[in-house]
């Protein structure tokens, strides 16, 4: 007896949206796992780059956006560099991050999305990053005052962090870029 698969019953999950954002076609993946073997963090996470691809292909949905690999990924691009099919997995990870933010997915250990938001905020304001201000805001936002506190006096004493934000940037063009893209995103 022939087995009939109803087209409607096959869920496509989020794979198409990933392709739309990243411009990357992950369906050429051979599952050779060179990405996973070279990945510096796959030994420390529950998932790996090749697994993320397979899950997407099998129709994984928004639940994938909660997985910590998305934020544990360091964007080192070892995966992309060694991929025989030249899949830019680092770019796929970026697309998953964008989607995680869009859907309000679970915040990972260390709350990288908050760190990103704060640092981008300093760029929008000053035209350049302001590490010390960002660190203070991040610590307040994550209530992690004690973590790395021994580092602060040390780097201050060594002059290895700027006390005040930089004033030299062309703030006008940076603000213009941020405002333009915020508007474009709303459209």
């Amino acid at each position: 007896m022939p087995i009939r698969i109803k087209k409607e019953a096959v869920k496509r999950g989020i794979i198409n949206r990933v392709k739309e954002i990243s411009g990357i076609d992950i369906n050429t993946c051979l599952q050779c796992k060179k990405c996973t073997n070279g990945c510096p963090v796959s030994g420390y996470t529950a998932s790996s780059p090749s697994e993320v691809i397979k899950k997407l292909q099998l129709g994984a949905g928004e639940e994938l956006l909660d997985s910590e690999i998305i934020w544990t990924c360091v964007s080192c691009a070892t995966c992309f560099s060694r991929c025989p099919m030249e899949i830019d997995m680092a770019r796929v990870m970026d697309a998953l991050r964008v989607m995680a933010e869009e859907t309000g997915a679970a915040k990972p250990d260390g709350n990288m999305p908050l760190m990103n938001k704060i640092l981008l905020g300093t760029i929008k304001t000053f035209g350049r990053t302001y590490d010390l201000g960002a660190m203070a805001l991040y610590k307040a936002g994550t209530a992690s005052y004690m973590k790395d506190m021994d580092k602060v006096p040390m780097i201050l004493k060594k002059g290895k962090i700027a006390l005040l934000p930089s004033q030299g940037a062309d703030k006008k063009i940076v603000k213009q870029i941020f405002n333009h893209l915020e508007k474009a995103r709303k459209k």
């Binding site: 954002i21 510096p40 963090v41 420390y44 934020w71 544990t72 360091v74 964007s75 080192c76 691009a77 070892t78 992309f80 560099s81 830019d88 680092a90 770019r91 970026d94 991050r97 964008v98 933010e101 250990d109 260390g110 990288m112 760190m115 990103n116 938001k117 981008l120 760029i123 035209g127 350049r128 990053t129 590490d131 010390l132 660190m135 991040y138 973590k147 790395d148 021994d150 580092k151 040390m154 780097i155 060594k158 002059g159 290895k160 962090i161 700027a162 930089s166 030299g168 940037a169 062309d170 703030k171 063009i173 940076v174 213009q176 870029i177 941020f178 333009h180 893209l181 474009a184 995103r185």
Partner: protein, 287 residues
């Protein structure tokens, strides 16, 4: 040799020592640097994690400034180097990205400004023979593990820096300075980079793997060219000690600091006082 020099945000903060040593070394090698007025952040890791168009536009704003100067752009931070090259690649290969960037900047940019790393211009433009001639002192056999990290070499088609799996540019400089550039396996492993504050537990593990391998390979110090690599490997040795009991005491110097020492520059001028693990044992080799 005249170039536009893009310092990058860390030059004013966590990598002040890289900035100071680069600007001290350059004129001694006959290299003239002009900073683009009003340079701004390249967008680094957070921009591309949040909005791809933002990351391209932030980098392109600076590339456009350099295009107006009619010079090549020299960068010493690996992250800036990577973002500038990726922006150039995206803009010159994807018309849609070029149009979006032009809309954000209010001006068209064609992706044509050549982006180089400081190490590249010494080897490719100046040449090792001329570099050697400028030196006053020698590293006298100092064994150095050159650590290139991620963003200088990857992705190779875009970065096109030396060899992506076994780069030797810094090693060639070290050998020219009378040191021994070690052949070791972790040259392009990742130190954990931007996870430095959010997942310091991972950075400690990744950094230890790298430092331990350098030590096993006989390194007496490590040379780096990236601000994130430098601060992770240098600052986290204390945490490695606390977490594992392993004391490495491995000095992590910028390649420009080693060059400056061989050019007879003062420790102050090279920002050596900013290093966390003391470079004293390294300095004893300078003859």
């Amino acid at each position: 040799m005249k170039y536009a020099y893009f310092p990058g945000c860390s030059a004013e903060s966590t990598a002040r020592d890289l900035y100071l040593s680069t600007l001290t070394v350059a004129p001694a090698l006959g290299i003239e640097f002009v900073e683009p007025a009003g340079w701004s952040c390249c967008g680094t890791t957070m921009a591309h994690q949040v909005d791809h168009d933002l990351s391209v536009s932030l980098a392109a704003a600076n590339l456009l400034k350099v295009k107006d100067m009619g010079l090549e752009m020299v960068v010493s931070c690996a992250s800036c180097y990577s973002r500038m090259k990726i922006a150039n690649h995206e803009i010159s290969t994807n018309l849609k990205t070029r149009e979006k960037t032009a809309a954000a900047l209010g001006r068209d940019y064609d992706g044509s400004v050549k982006v180089r790393h400081f190490v590249e211009i010494i080897i490719e433009d100046m040449g090792l023979a001329a570099f050697k001639k400028a030196l006053k002192h020698s590293l006298s056999g100092l064994k150095v593990a050159s650590y290139y990290g991620c963003l200088l070499v990857r992705p190779p088609e875009i970065a096109s820096f030396d060899d992506p799996e076994n780069p030797v540019y810094m090693d060639r400089l070290i050998n020219a300075m009378g040191g021994v550039g070690l052949d070791w396996p972790h040259k392009v492993e990742c130190c954990g980079g931007s996870l430095t504050l959010t997942r310091s537990d991972l950075v400690v593990k990744l950094s230890e793997t790298i430092i331990a391998m350098a030590k096993d390979s006989g390194a007496q110090c490590m040379a780096v060219a990236c601000p994130m690599c430098q601060i992770n490997l240098d600052m986290r040795q204390d945490d490695i000690l606390k977490a594992t009991g392993h004391r490495y005491n491995m000095p992590i110097l910028y390649i420009t600091q080693l060059m400056g020492l061989c050019l007879g520059m003062s420790e102050q001028a090279l920002g050596l006082n900013k290093l966390i693990i003391s470079p004293q044992e390294t300095l004893n080799f300078i003859r």
